[in-house]
């Protein structure tokens, strides 16, 4: 089979990885917080789509809009409850705070949903072109990822609020002196990061089974991608996602699939050692 089939599959999933990583890297970029509750939020996004689709019969892509709004609200809530108080403390405090949120969500999620896998029984069929057959849902997910990235870009670079976010990211003290309400901007940024994670989770639910624990895998991938694309650089994260997805797609052609995580994390360490600003340049 042509290499192209492997590349296309990898790229399509890479878009989804990209969105998930964008959420993580945005939060890091704006507030220097490593969000350890990223994984469970991704899983919650999946459950959001599942519940809306299964119980209300809402189209998964319409459900995504609801999930996105809920993600934004959840993120802002988490910020005010768990992060605001420790935002200026050393990294370990915010790490522990987000880790606690992680454990709380997993605990509640396990109680509510158990760890039995859930699937959203939704299909858009397959699209075939020559040697390549791809799933409709994965194509739509990639398109949605592009749409979300564009929207984020427009928000950050074309709106006043986006400018505030960038200002706070660059220099919080100076931004405050200019009259920017940094606390609310930080909450918004955390909300946006959470929203991206929830959207990624929602998209994942349209083609993979999931449990409350499945977010962990995507969280780890998000770390790799964030470093690959440059910490704090949202567009770099999308690019990093595509690189990682492509690698995952191609490796099985030449090596046993069990090599995928080995090579991924090897690459991660090499990037940290050789080019810690990532392939596409980190914040600042």
């Amino acid at each position: 089979m042509d290499l192209i089939a492997f590349v296309v599959d990898g790229l399509l999933i890479g878009f989804v990885y990209g969105i998930a990583a964008m959420g993580l890297t945005l939060i890091w970029g704006v507030m220097n917080v490593i969000n350890l509750s990223h994984g469970p939020i991704i899983a919650l996004g999946s459950f959001g789509v599942y519940l809306l689709f299964t119980n209300l019969g809402l189209n998964p892509y319409l459900s995504l809009v609801v999930v996105a709004v809920a993600g934004l609200a959840t993120g802002m809530f988490i910020y005010f409850v768990a992060i605001q108080r420790v935002i200026n403390a050393p990294h370990l405090s915010t790490l522990l705070a987000t880790f606690s949120v992680n454990m709380i969500i997993i605990g509640l999620g396990t109680a509510a949903f158990t760890t039995t896998p859930y699937t959203v029984n939704f299909s858009l069929g397959g699209l075939s072109a020559g040697p390549v057959t791809v799933l409709g849902t994965r194509v739509v997910a990639a398109l949605a990822a592009i749409l979300v990235t564009s929207a984020l870009y427009l928000f950050l670079y074309r709106t006043r609020l986006g400018k505030f976010v960038r200002a706070v990211a660059n220099n919080r003290a100076a931004a405050e002196l200019m009259g920017i309400p940094s606390s609310r901007i930080l909450a918004l940024s955390f909300g946006l990061g959470t929203m991206l994670a929830a959207i990624a989770g929602g998209l994942i639910a349209t083609f993979f089974p999931f449990t409350i624990l499945s977010g962990g895998t995507y969280e780890l991938k998000s770390f790799v991608i964030s470093v690959l694309g440059g910490l704090g650089n949202p567009l770099g994260a999308l690019a990093g996602g595509l690189v990682l997805g492509t690698i995952e797609g191609i490796i099985p052609k030449y090596l046993p699939t069990t090599w995928v995580p080995v090579l991924e994390f090897l690459m991660f360490i090499i990037i940290l050692l050789v080019r810690p600003t990532g392939l596409f340049g980190a914040k600042k």
Binding site: M1, L95, I106, L220
Partner: protein
């Protein structure tokens, strides 16, 4: 930046460790569910028989990847316990009556937890007998503890052969062993289309699936098949797309292998979505599960080996016909009782849970005591037909406890996407329908 990089690296390592340990850690093991107590004594004897409690210890995977299969297995075991207790228990030779109660913990589908918890069951909880957890890996971990503490254990939901090659004397297997798990699929393929030669064997990278696939590989090669791909995938894989591309590249005519429910059903779904051109697909564990039908069109034509099917009607008449003893309920009686108790069709995992209890009951009855050595001797001599099929254990020193009586049945999902039905297609004498071939 360098400090941040170091921090991130450390975090990822910690994250991996946490992920591996499967996040939720219940604060304390759960209390066992108490079986429905039946206090009334229906007997009219002048001297009421002394009642003895026998504790059956086991772990259940209430969380983690084995949750679906394990829950059904425990359901089956609980049904047996309720029935035997409701029926007045088992009478011992000294006239006392044994009633059973269960003691179990959540093993989180985790091998390390299994060893900890079985030690606890054997020492602190003083379990009289043990039933294995679901899956070969976990059962293997539990078997060594059972042997160490001198407890008779019935393993169920566990098909690996290797557990019984370690010189254990108290561990007895209810399932057909892994070495014979998928070989029937190769026989079925040969009987259906002798012209097919190329098979891809793909399997989950765990003990059970690897054992089954390795045995199948040897068997298929001996039958003259060409194995165009033999490869494992990680447990918990959700994205099979690149792997399926690789399978397509190898151009097999048949795909065999699989793993457990989660990965098997995802694999079948993605195979169908990718429109791979193969004639025959036989996967482990997932297809016989009733919920496999939720895949719709993707389930159509998929074949799976099953330890037991409600369709295969084992009863006293069938036993008489082949000159064997029959023990316990018939398939029909078990199926009806299970449906009444859990409002779903029993899968073979559920039947596996029930048979484990039933075998203990038979052995205790025969031994007339709860003494492990007497029960062991009784189990050694078991050779009978049950609702689960023929049961007989290997009694040689090399493979003591290995199941040698039982054999698999192969089911296939037939019909159409909206109206799927399971049919037994192999062995021929038990078949309820012709094999749908090639795949639609």
């Amino acid at each position: 930046m360098k400090r941040i990089s170091t921090l991130i690296l450390a975090l990822v390592l910690i994250g991996s460790l946490l992920l591996a340990s499967c996040a939720p850690q219940p604060a304390a093991p759960q209390e066992p569910a108490q079986p429905a107590a039946t206090e009334e004594t229906t007997s009219e004897e002048p001297m009421p028989a002394a009642e003895v409690k026998a504790v059956i210890g086991f772990t259940a995977s209430q969380t983690g990847s084995l949750n679906v299969e394990s829950t059904r297995q425990v359901n089956g075991l609980n049904l047996w316990m309720k029935q035997v207790n409701d029926a007045g228990g088992v009478k011992l030779s000294d006239g006392s009556v044994v009633k059973f109660e269960s003691k179990f913990y959540d093993d989180e589908s985790n091998k390390d937890r299994v060893q900890e918890l079985y030690t606890r069951l054997a020492t602190e909880d003083n379990a009289n007998f043990l039933i294995s957890p679901y899956s070969s890996g976990l059962a293997d971990a539990a078997a060594v503890i059972a042997e160490q503490y001198g407890k008779v254990m019935i393993t169920t939901g566990a098909a690996s052969d290797s557990t019984y090659m370690k010189g254990y004397t108290l561990v007895f297997q209810a399932y057909t062993p892994a070495s014979k798990y998928l070989t029937g699929a190769a026989d079925l393929l040969a009987a259906t289309d002798p012209s097919v030669k190329k098979i891809a064997i793909v399997h989950e990278n765990d003990k059970f699936s690897t054992d089954v696939s390795t045995a199948l590989n040897e068997y298929a090669l001996a039958q003259g098949y060409e194995i165009v791909l033999f490869e494992g995938y990680d447990s918990g894989t959700t994205d099979f797309a690149p792997f399926i591309n690789k399978i397509a590249e190898a151009a097999p005519e048949a795909i065999m292998g699989g793993g457990h429910f989660q990965d098997g059903s995802t694999f079948a779904k993605q195979l169908s979505e990718k429109n791979i051109d193969v004639k025959f697909v036989a996967l482990l564990v997932a297809p016989p599960e009733p919920s496999f039908a939720e895949l719709g069109a993707a389930a159509l034509g998929i074949i799976g080996p099953s330890q037991w099917e409600p369709l295969a009607n084992f009863n006293a008449d069938a036993a008489k016909a082949v000159g064997m003893d029959f023990y316990g309920p018939s398939s029909q009686e078990f199926t009806d009782a299970y449906k009444a108790a859990y409002t779903e069709d029993p899968s073979y995992h559920a039947a596996g849970g029930y048979i484990a209890g039933l075998l203990l009951q038979k052995a205790i009855e025969q031994a007339g005591s709860l003494d492990p050595q007497a029960v062991k001797t009784a189990l050694d001599s078991v050779d009978l037909l049950t609702f689960f099929g023929h049961i007989k254990f290997d009694t040689t020193a090399e493979a003591h406890g290995l199941q040698v009586g039982h054999s698999m049945v192969y089911i296939q999902w037939q019909g159409d996407a909206t109206n799927l039905a399971k049919q037994v297609v192999w062995p021929q004498e038990g078949a309820t329908a012709e094999t749908v071939y090639p795949l639609p």
